[in-house]
Every structure is written in C-alpha cells, then in structure tokens.
Symmetry: C2
Subunit: 493 residues, 2 copies
C-alpha cells in the first residue's frame, strides 16, 4: 500500500500543477491585461513542462510498477489505470516539445483574438500551422502506429474509439439534413419577439437569476464575461463565463446555463478525492453531456419558461406581455441564417460540428492546407446549412478551440447525444422532469446526476459509466427521438 499512497501523493502534486495552470488560463481569458501575454506564456510553459517531467519521471514509473504489483481494491485499480494511461500518453513526448507547444498555445489565444477582431484568417494561419505541426509531432511520439488524428482524439475521450463516434455521426447525418429541410419548408410560424438592443447589465442579472434558480453554489463559483464562454475549475471552485449579444437577450442566458451544466459536473466530484483520478471528470464527451443536459433538456423546455418567465419580464419590462410560448419558441427557433455554432439550435448544431470535424481531420492529416480553410469552411456551410459566412470572424475564426488543439469537436455531439440518453434514464428513476422543472425542484436532478455520473470521477471507463448510468451503450436513438418529437411539434411536421 505504501507504493499506492506514494503514487497518489505524486499524482496529487501533478494534478495540482495542472489545476494551477487552469487558473492561469482562466485569468488570461477573463482578467489579464493584454500586455501580460509574454509573461503568462512563459508561466504556462513552465507549469506544463514541470508537470510533464514529474509525470514521466523514473519515480512515477517505479511507483506505478509497484502499485500495479500490489493487491489493490477495484477503486484503487482504477486510480492506477488512469495514472498509467496519463503516464503512457506523455512518457515518450520530449519536454522541449511540451514547452514549445504550451507557449504556442498561449500566444495563439491572443493571435486568434486579434485575427477574429480583424476578421483576418491570414494573420492566424501561421500559428495554426505551427500548432498543427506540434500536435502531429506529439501524436507521433504517443503512438506512431495509429493515425495522428485518432491519437489526438484520445486527448479528450480516451475510452470511446473515434470509429464508434463516427458511427454516431453517420446516424445523425442520415436523419438531420432531412429534418432541417422539412423545418425550412414548414409554414409554421415560430415566435421571435426580440427587437432593439438589450442592456448588458440586465442580461447579466438575468443570467444570475437563472443560476440562482437552477441552484448554482456561489460559494464555490463565480460568473464573469469572456469572448468565448467556458467553465474552469474543480469541486471547490467551478467558475463560468458568458458574453452578450446586443439584440439577443437569451444568448448570454443560454451560454450561462450551458456552462452551469459543466460546473455541476465539477461541483459533483468528491471533495475528498480532489486532485486524484476519482475526483476528476471522466472525459470531454461526458462533460459536454452535463452542459447539454442543462442547456437543452432544462433551459430549452416549456416547463423552464413556465417557471422562469416572470424573471425575464422583470429584467426586460418591454416584454411584459410575452408568453411562455413566445419564449419557448424563441429559444428553440431554427434560424437557417445563423452562422455561429454556439448560437445554434439543437439540430443544426451538429452540422456545425460535422463541418469542423471534417476540416479539422483533413487539415491534421495533411489533405487540406491552412490557406484553403476559409473557402472550404464557407463551401461546407453553404452545403450543410444553406448559408455562407460573410467574413472569417463569423466563419472559420469563430471558435478559439484550435488555439488549444485538434480532434476535440466530436465531443460536443457525443455530449448532446448522451444528454438525451441520460434524461431518459433519469426519468425512469425520478419521474417526469417537466414537473420538477416547473416547480423549480432541481435537487432530485442534481442528485441523480451526481450519483450516476459525477461522483464516480474516473472510476469507470466512458463505456462503463454510460452503461452503469443508462443500462445501455452510447446511442443516438434518444437524441433523435427527442428532436423529432420536439421540432415535429414546433414546426408542425
């Protein structure tokens, strides 16, 4: 047991250094003055190189060997399995590459922000190429027998093979375009009551109202604004951000509810397992299922608006006459002219993802050059969604994600699909969700998700976790049922 305890101590240190880097990243996006980038990049590089060296040291290797040889309980075996996986993923990657990659990623955020502000993809392209090359190099060190893209995909989702995820994509591609086409041709009038501009302070206050309503623990969180909404933190401190669109008062709200879902995952992890694999989230896909659950299966329901409408009309008295139906329809309206992923409805969203994954893969695999990205992007937008971005800022520069890495977008779709699957299983246990939502009783939902998802941390693999929670493997079936029924009713299909 001594080896196991020592291994866990060592891992805690490694994990805490990673969490410190997480805070530096949060700060860079939310608080840091622009001039701070050169120092921040060096700080982040120092942390990730140091974390890397501690992880791949001989001492870690020896402790892993000794712990694996000891007779451990299943939960302890899971801990060792996870540490082993991280170790194997980094042990062949040189420190210099880790250092260079981290600096490039940190600098890239600023470059991306500037490029987006100027809507100038060309100024981002050299950075993007550097990032691609560095990530490819890294993938080669991890496993040169596999395609680099499949290796990079495992960064976020280690226990669902890319092929399985692509099978889900095929199921979606077989149904969603027809559904979108039917919606486009529908003559049903779906409400859009908004006009003029909406005060940012009121939007922010409405976000706070919603977080209060849903049960956000302000003693372990905070809400700020950032160019790209995100969540950052751990079980003691899970912070969220949102941002404002002048003419769309539900946009910041939806983003805040989405990030709240991510925060619930962190906050549901076991306090006493902080900075160990049993107190860390399973994967990006499972994380996204939590944000999608709250965004789509709570925030975009009629029941939510039955309860929450008075807060909305309080904050925006110009809409004193708005009905539940107005808000429900507005928050679910399929707008074919929307070019922005994070503002997409539940259906078109996945075509935004499929487009990114296709470009992402082709670029990483060398089948697409950086300077071909804007045109390819616009082409595919036209093909899948019937709309063309008017510039790079609302096209291929809209997302920050490439500043961090590649092969991660799939997890957004995995999350949506899994959210619907979890909802169905939850309803088996706690009954009709709408009744809970209408009464503002979110505790049974939080409890179910904590018991079935959060509190396991990385105890189970993704497959095991999904089967434990829902009784079956990942499937697109529940998501497809959900959108067919919901949008069938809304658009009278």
């Amino acid at each position: 047991m001594a080896a196991y305890d020592d291994l866990l101590d060592r891992y805690r240190r490694i994990s805490n250094i990673g969490n410190a880097a997480g805070l530096l990243n949060w700060d860079q996006q939310v608080m840091m003055p622009d001039g701070g980038t050169p120092a921040r990049s060096q700080q982040l590089a120092a942390l990730s190189t140091t974390r890397h060296e501690l992880l791949v040291s001989d001492e870690t290797a020896d402790l892993l060997d000794a712990a694996e040889a000891a007779g451990l309980e299943p939960a302890e075996q899971a801990v060792v399995r996870e540490i082993r996986r991280e170790y194997e993923r980094e042990t062949d990657v040189p420190s210099d590459l880790v250092d260079e990659l981290t600096r490039t990623q940190s600098d890239a955020q600023e470059t991306w922000q500037d490029a987006k502000a100027e809507s100038d993809f060309e100024s981002f392209a050299p950075t993007l190429r550097d990032l691609r090359d560095l990530h490819r190099d890294r993938a080669g060190y991890i496993d040169d027998a596999k395609s680099p893209y499949a290796v990079l995909f495992e960064d976020g989702e280690p226990y669902l093979p890319l092929s399985r995820v692509e099978q889900v994509f095929e199921e979606l591609k077989a149904e969603l375009p027809d559904l979108i086409e039917a919606i486009r041709e529908s003559e049903s009038e779906v409400a859009w009551p908004f006009e003029g501009s909406y005060d940012e302070d009121a939007q922010l206050a409405l976000c706070r109202d919603a977080l209060d309503f849903l049960g956000y623990d302000w003693d372990r969180g905070r809400l700020d604004t950032a160019p790209h909404p995100f969540m950052s933190g751990n079980q003691f401190d899970a912070r969220i951000t949102t941002r404002f669109k002048e003419g769309e008062p539900l946009d910041a709200l939806t983003a805040a509810v989405h990030e709240f879902g991510h925060a619930t995952y962190q906050l549901g992890l076991r306090d006493d397992a902080y900075a160990t694999p049993l107190g860390e989230p399973r994967s990006s896909g499972v994380h996204e299922s939590q944000s999608r659950f709250w965004e789509n299966h709570v925030g975009r329901t009629r029941a939510f608006w039955e309860a929450f409408l008075p807060k909305f009309t309080d904050r925006f008295p110009q809409h004193a006459d708005a009905t539940v139906e107005d808000l429900y329809q507005a928050v679910n309206k399929v707008r074919p002219d929307n070019r922005i992923r994070v503002e997409a409805d539940e259906i078109t969203y996945h075509l935004h993802i499929i487009l990114r994954c296709e470009i992402d893969r082709a670029f990483v695999e060398g089948d697409l050059a950086a300077d071909e990205i804007p045109a390819t992007w616009n082409e595919k937008m036209d093909q899948y969604l019937g709309v063309r971005p008017r510039n790079d800022a609302e096209g291929c520069l809209q997302d920050i994600h490439w500043s961090y890495g590649f092969a991660g977008f799939q997890n957004y779709t995995v999350g949506s699909v899994l959210a619907a699957q979890l909802e169905a299983a939850m309803e088996e246990d706690i009954g009709d969700l709408d009744a809970h939502i209408r009464r503002g009783e979110f505790e049974p939902m939080h409890e179910w998700l904590t018991e079935n998802v959060h509190e396991h941390g990385c105890r189970y693999t993704t497959d095991e976790l999904i089967e434990e929670a829902t009784g079956e493997p990942l499937t697109a079936e529940y998501y497809l049922d959900h959108v067919r029924e919901k949008f069938g009713e809304l658009y009278d299909l």
Copy 2:
C-alpha cells in the same frame, strides 16, 4: 557560457513557477469564491514545493558551481550571486516543511479574514502559533548560528543588516515622539472637510482618474478591490487593488496611489530580463520606497492637489467649493485617534511599524505568547500614540501580514526613509518636483526612477543601489528634514 545559459534557463523556470503562485495568491484575495480555499491551498503547496525542489536540486548546484568557475561579465556575476543566494537560503530546508508552511499560509488568509470580521483574535491564535513555529524551524535550517528573527528579516531585505535598520529606527524614535507631541499641542486648525458617506463607485472612479493622471499603463495592469490593498505581478502585468472607507473619500485614493508606486517598480523592470534576477525587484525595502515616493512625495503634495482638485470635485460635487488647501490639509492631517496603520499620516506611521516590530520580534523569539499579543498591542498603542484599539479588528488583527511571515514590517519604514532620500537625489537631476507635478509631467520622474532604480533589477546589492542612485548610504536624514519642514508649516510649530 553553456553552464551560465543553462543555469539561467533553470532559474527562469523556477521564477515562472513562483510567478504563477503569485497569480494564484492574487486570485485568492481578489476573485476566488470562499469555498475555493482547500483546493487553492493544495495548488499553492504543490507550486512552492516543486519550485523549492527545482531550486535545491543537484542539477542547480552543479550549474551554479560551473557558472561560478566560468569567466563572467559583472552583470552575469550578479545573476549567479542572486541565484546562489536563493539556493543557499533553501537548500537545507526540507520539502515537507515548505509544503506545510505554504498550506498553512494559504489557509491562514481565510482564518485571518474570518477572525478579523468577527474581531476574534483567539480564533487566529492557533494558526499564528503554527506559522511562527514553522518559520522558526525554517530559519533554523537556513542558519542556526544567527537569531531566527535576523534570518527571517533577510527574506525581504537580504543586503541591509537588521542592525543597520534598527539604527535608523533609533534615529526616528529620537525625534518622532516629540514631533507628534508638538502636533498634538498645536493650536493650528488643519482642515477636514469630509462628512457623510461617499459612494464607492465614485471613489473607484477617482482612483482611476488618479492612475490615469500619474501614467498607469492599463495595458499592463488593472485595478480591483481586496480587503487589504496590494500589488501583484511583473513587468508585463502589474495589478493593484484598493478598498473603500465609507466616510473617507481619500483613503481608497491614497491606497491606490501607493500600490501604483509598487506597480511602477515592476513595470520599470527590463522586459527582456523577465524571470531572471536582472528583471526582478531588489528587495521589499526598495519596493516600498517606490510606493512611498508616489504616495507621500507626489500624492500628498500641494502641487498634486493644484492639478488634481478638479477631478475630486467632479467626482464629489458636494465638495464643489473645496480648495487646494482643504485637500492638502485633509490628506496630511495627523489624527491621533487613528488606529489603523495603512491610514496613518507620514509621521505616526512609523510608530505603528515600531510597535509591530517589537511585538513581532518578541513573539518569534519566544518572549511573548500569542495570547498576550492583543493586550500588548493595545498597551503599546496607548504608550506610543495615545489611543487604544476598541477591538482586535482595529488592533492586532488589522494586518494580513502574519499570514505570510514575520520580520517584514521594518521594510515599510526603510521604504519611507529611502523615498525621501531618492526624492532629494532626483531633484538634483530634474529640478523642483512640484513644478513637474503641477503640470502633470510625470515622465521625467518615471524615467529617473527607472534609470536609477528599476531597470537594474537585482544587479546591485541594496547598499550599492542606494549609493549609485543617491550618492550616499541609507540615511533617515532626508525623511526627518521632510517631515520637520512639512508638518512644521502645517501645524505652525
């Protein structure tokens, strides 16, 4: 030269880990939700332990030996001297102690805040004893031939012996009490135009006005609020905080100008020497000279108020009729009823410091028990300043500093004394400061301080730096001249 370059690379990593910890500390005081402490304490402990182990590793030792044996330029020799000093200061201190001390310090901040809020010293006393014991242990490992208090003093000021500083204290003790007595007996009426409460937003706006006026680089800084005003950062990102007193509109302003002074030091360090000894500040005492210079020799002058009065009356229209003399007198009024160090005038301030140093030393040396501190504090306040704190919150719990360490308060007085000495030298070079201040021309002052103090980093020892900049060793003479003249005129002595 290879050894020198490698040593510098290694030091950069060590320094960047320290800077990352600095950001975590800033966040803990300014942004972190209360619930975040358990995770933050572990993160800080992981960083300081890792930093420590990198510093005292055999690799660092070998690189130091090799660099010292190489033929280096004087600036490089200074770099090696500083790294050697840090190495020697930590090499005998066990990692476990570093870890425990860091956790205790991080937890102590919350304990102190709660204790201060409840004005309950007893709830802070156990933590204070733990901190004292840990710091004493640390001092013993560093140098068990010296008094632990003298060893701890070198944390902040390595190149001015405590005995030299105590000599300066004696000079002050020989003059200040009589001066305070004369002021107390003076019949001169010094203005105090404030009454009622002052809006926090307006106070904050006035702080921003002052920082604009003095030339704060917002692209490399930010202003926030925290229970205890402080500055944090480096040459790319030097952030300041202030806080508000409802009835005293100049209090937040004075704190902001003080912290601005600290920020100028960081921002004046060489960009290209970031995270090396040539790009790091010399010492706590020299740092404090910069904050005191701007607070006292700029912010508390008539010339400043001649230029800045319109901003004040803009933000507080109830004072539309205030004169320069009103504000000048108010910001310099000696108020014997003040019990709070950070709100003290330029003279009584040093008795606050002397009191702390006496208690601090007696406590560390075992001559005073923790539970005797409140009574001793109140006794000394009565003796030195003729006023008794009404509770621990405005007595011995007023400062956060013991949460970090001991034997550091001396540097506040060193800073004040040095600020006056620097002002005299600066006037030799750029002429009457008041004329510059009145015209809002701060660039020549920034340039002088950068050239003579900031841009040297740790190139010179404290003694050398002071002699280079002012032509003589540290002396209380200029400070005493300054207060004699200023308060003699104000109080008609």
